[in-house]
């Protein structure tokens, strides 16, 4: 089973069209293995992207070097998935 330890979901807020284009460019950075949960739309709408642990630093460096604002929407994805799985398992035990 694939795990997502240390994966974070960043919420990116491009300030203008130029920054929007820079975020759009990230879609082609296959080495980062980014997973866009909410894709690039318009300046007013944030972009949510899951970033694997191995490319977290380089992704944040890229954003910060372009002065693109972002926040951390999910600190550690695996923690949430573990909670979800635990809930399913306990519900299934209760059903048993």
């Amino acid at each position: 089973k694939e795990t997502f330890d240390g994966h974070q979901v960043l919420r990116i807020a491009p300030r203008d069209e130029a920054q929007l284009a820079l975020v759009k460019d990230m879609e082609d950075m296959m080495e980062f293995e980014l997973d866009f949960w909410k894709g690039v739309t318009e300046v007013a709408t944030h972009v949510d992207v899951r970033v694997p642990f191995h490319s977290l630093q380089s992704t944040k460096t890229y954003l910060e070097s372009q002065d693109i604002k972002y926040s951390i929407m999910i600190e550690d994805l695996q923690v949430m998935l573990d909670e979800e799985q635990e809930e399913m398992d306990s519900a299934a035990r209760d059903a048993e």
Partner: protein
């Protein structure tokens, strides 16, 4: 659970549990509910569609699908709840009873079973189908970019490793082609509602072009009423509009194709939430999400019933 009354709608279920639920619902309601297998997924799983009908032949009908993107678990869970809601409310809710006395409802709860199974057993974040792509190590096609509506245009990727890979050709995915064939063979669908998550939006065509849909004014008005009723329950706020003006350009999308087939009331829902949990929506939000969404679905179904064309 021994019957659908004791089925726990407030938690996420495996593929087999949903298949069992479907069979139980059919067995409990032989006069109203039947199961149609419209095709097979790439890995050979049945594409089950529940048909809710009170009689007649090839009546005008409404299509609802959930789970075409497998990781959007709240949609399959909501679809399961919708199925039970329909059989529970028929005969007691006047609006639904009127609809079902004239129309049929088709509900495909697990539209991408291979992907859904994979999210439970291998990769919770999986979105696409599970068919290998020749010439690539990456697997799967985005089933919401594989339709013959602006196929391959801007708003989809030609890279098999992308989450929005459109596939080698339109309708290349059996999960998509099976619906295409069903829609064409039925020929009397009047509404097509495809349910995704997340970001709380109600969208209508088009996504692949900036051309305004010819029924845009009516679609917009119905969407406004639908999200107003939805918000009346818990205050959940939705945005609404055409795909391309509300979110982004997306080519090869489901409801662009269905609208171009003449199914006027074609909508896509994006359910909860706006990004606190995203695709990992806690199970305790399943029933509230399903209940509020049902209010919006009823607006669209009621409008369709009262404006048959």
């Amino acid at each position: 659970p021994r019957n659908t009354d004791s089925f726990d709608f407030s938690r996420y279920h495996t593929l087999n549990e949903i298949y069992s639920f479907q069979d139980m619902l059919v067995a409990e309601n032989p006069k109203m509910v039947s199961k149609i297998v419209i095709g097979r997924s790439y890995e050979g799983r049945p594409l089950n569609v529940l048909k809710f009908s009170t009689g007649g032949t090839n009546r005008p009908a409404i299509w609802i699908d959930t789970g075409i993107h497998s990781r959007e678990w709240v949609t399959q869970a909501s679809g399961t709840w919708f199925a039970k809601k329909i059989v529970t409310d028929y005969g007691s809710d006047p609006a639904l009873t009127a609809i079902l006395d004239t129309m049929d409802i088709f509900l495909e709860i697990v539209t991408n079973p291979d992907g859904y199974y994979y999210t439970h057993n291998t990769n919770r974040m999986w979105r696409k189908t599970r068919k290998p792509n020749s010439g690539s190590s990456c697997v799967g096609v985005d089933p919401n970019r594989n339709w013959d509506a602006g196929f391959g245009g801007a708003g989809a990727s030609s890279n098999p490793c992308s989450e929005t890979y459109h596939g080698p050709s339109a309708h290349s995915e059996s999960e998509v082609k099976s619906i295409v064939d069903f829609v064409k063979s039925h020929g009397n669908l009047k509404a097509f509602l495809s349910i995704h998550s997340y970001s709380q939006m109600l969208l209508y065509p088009y996504g692949y072009t900036r051309t305004v849909a010819k029924d845009q004014a009516e679609l917009h008005a119905v969407a406004e009423k639908a999200i107003t009723d939805l918000a009346s329950l818990y205050g959940t706020r939705y945005r609404y509009g055409s795909i391309i003006t509300t979110i982004y350009q997306a080519s090869g999308g489901t409801i662009d194709w269905t609208y171009n087939q003449g199914i006027k009331y074609s909508y896509t829902f994006e359910l909860r939430d706006t990004g606190r949990y995203g695709f990992i929506l806690p199970a305790n939000q399943i029933i509230p999400t399903a209940k509020e969404t049902w209010l919006a679905l009823m607006v669209i179904m009621d409008h369709t019933y009262k404006n048959l064309y």
